[in-house]
């Protein structure tokens, strides 16, 4: 049966008619056409579907759309400034070449931004632990770890 789900995505109030079994990531990608949020494994392991929900990084493939009723969601599309200026974490990924194919990057950035809020100057070890829920099959993680450390410090400095 179709039901209505209403939430805020990237600051805009949106609603969608969906089946009750619809996942949050499906609403984001297929109803709202925000295809920056990726579905990698679809089993809550890879983290490519990570978005911010009510200020916390979560895996949108493991959440029913109905669970997000009334929530404030931010996707990778909502991270940069309207004029296109990159978020400090995005800029750090670019600067440190923290990506190769880029498939995992939106999830990495969304998780990293949430992590950096409570870790303004993280150690390498802390960054690696924070990445337990994000898989990258290209980079070997070294530049992602560097990027997140630099991004976190840039976020703290821009406050």
């Amino acid at each position: 049966m179709a039901v209505k789900v209403s939430l805020k995505v990237n600051g805009k109030s949106v609603s969608a008619e969906v089946e009750e079994r619809t996942l949050l990531v499906t609403v984001i990608r297929e109803n709202l056409r925000l295809t920056g949020t990726h579905v990698g494994c679809d089993t809550a392991q890879c983290g490519a579907c990570t978005v911010s929900m009510n200020g916390k990084a979560v895996k949108s493939c493991s959440i029913l759309a109905m669970q997000a009723e009334g929530a404030e969601v931010m996707t990778i599309e909502g991270v940069a400034k309207p004029d296109g200026t990159l978020h400090p974490m995005q800029a750090a990924f670019k600067e440190h070449h923290g990506l190769q194919c880029g498939f995992c990057t939106p999830g990495m950035v969304m998780n990293a931004i949430d992590f950096a809020k409570s870790h303004p100057n993280p150690s390498e070890q802390e960054v690696r632990e924070a990445l337990e829920g994000n898989l990258c099959r290209c980079t070997g993680y070294h530049n992602i770890v560097k990027a997140i450390g630099a991004g976190a410090r840039a976020m703290a400095a821009s406050k």
Binding site: T43, I63, L64, N111
Partner: protein, 263 residues
């Protein structure tokens, strides 16, 4: 995922009334949603506990720490009260899954599911916790019945878990590097005179290790358990680890947990 009817009750009573037939409760959904996607579960109805007030939160009174059923793992891990009263419990919560999963997953969901490799059952059993539901209370020793099976009855909903504050405690987990579930996890809690040792991941359901408890009650030191040989009979054997390997790990994790508790 098969179709189901979704409900958003506003009270515990409404939620309980909806638990008919193949209805399932949804807490954080970090196990259930995946299980439904794999069609290992195909409930007729989903009863979402997410909007019921007062099911989340942490209270501490010096003797016990009470955690609401819908409290997220991340909130237990970061709670100043938990870190002060039972740091081992906060550390355990910080080891569950990954940080995105910890932002959604709940203690009530974990306990009701009772995965044989889950972390929380070890803390509940070692810290002699009491599980409160909409129908009454369960002692930890009588709650975990078997693999994915608990003492919860039909329509029974966990509301809170009260942990007894130990003199000292620690949890050591040898984790599967992919899933981060416990291959073997051992929670050791010293209540001054009595010691409880709970083992998760090793068998079909969390269990206490009586021989280690006795040895640690006599002397709370790593060497008290270092030479205790755990029998492999009845322990899990799978692609990740043999029963023999898990039996060995129980002793190693117990020794390390005692070491950590003494720090």
């Amino acid at each position: 995922m098969h179709a189901f009817k979704y409900h958003r009750p506003s009270s515990l009573n409404d939620a309980a009334a909806l638990m008919k037939g193949d209805a399932k409760l949804l807490a954080g959904g970090q196990t259930l949603v995946q299980t439904m996607k794999l069609r290992l579960a195909s409930p007729s109805d989903i009863v979402d506990l997410g909007t019921i007030k007062d099911l989340a939160g942490i209270k501490s009174d010096g003797k016990s720490v009470t955690v609401g059923a819908m409290t997220r793992h991340a909130d237990v891990a970061h709670s100043a009260d938990v870190n002060k009263a039972i740091p081992a419990l906060a550390a355990l919560a910080a080891m569950i899954g990954d940080r995105q999963v910890r932002a959604m997953g709940t203690i009530g969901g974990s306990l009701a599911n009772n995965d044989p490799a889950a972390d929380y059952p070890a803390a509940v059993l070692a810290l002699n916790a009491t599980i409160t539901t909409n129908k009454g209370k369960h002692e930890a020793d009588k709650f975990f019945k078997g693999m994915f099976t608990t003492a919860l009855g039909a329509g029974e909903i966990i509301t809170a878990v009260s942990f007894q504050v130990p003199k000292r405690a620690a949890y050591m987990k040898f984790k599967n590097p992919a899933s981060r579930f416990a291959i073997v996890g051992v929670f050791v809690a010293d209540f001054g005179g009595s010691v409880r040792v709970a083992v998760t991941g090793a068998g079909p359901v969390v269990f206490r290790q009586a021989e280690m408890e006795k040895a640690l009650a006599a002397k709370f030191a790593p060497e008290s358990v270092a030479n205790i040989k755990v029998k492999q009979d009845g322990l899990n054997s799978d692609m990740h680890a043999s029963a023999e390997y898990r039996a060995h790990l129980v002793t190693v994790m117990a020794r390390r947990a005692v070491q950590a508790a003494l720090k």
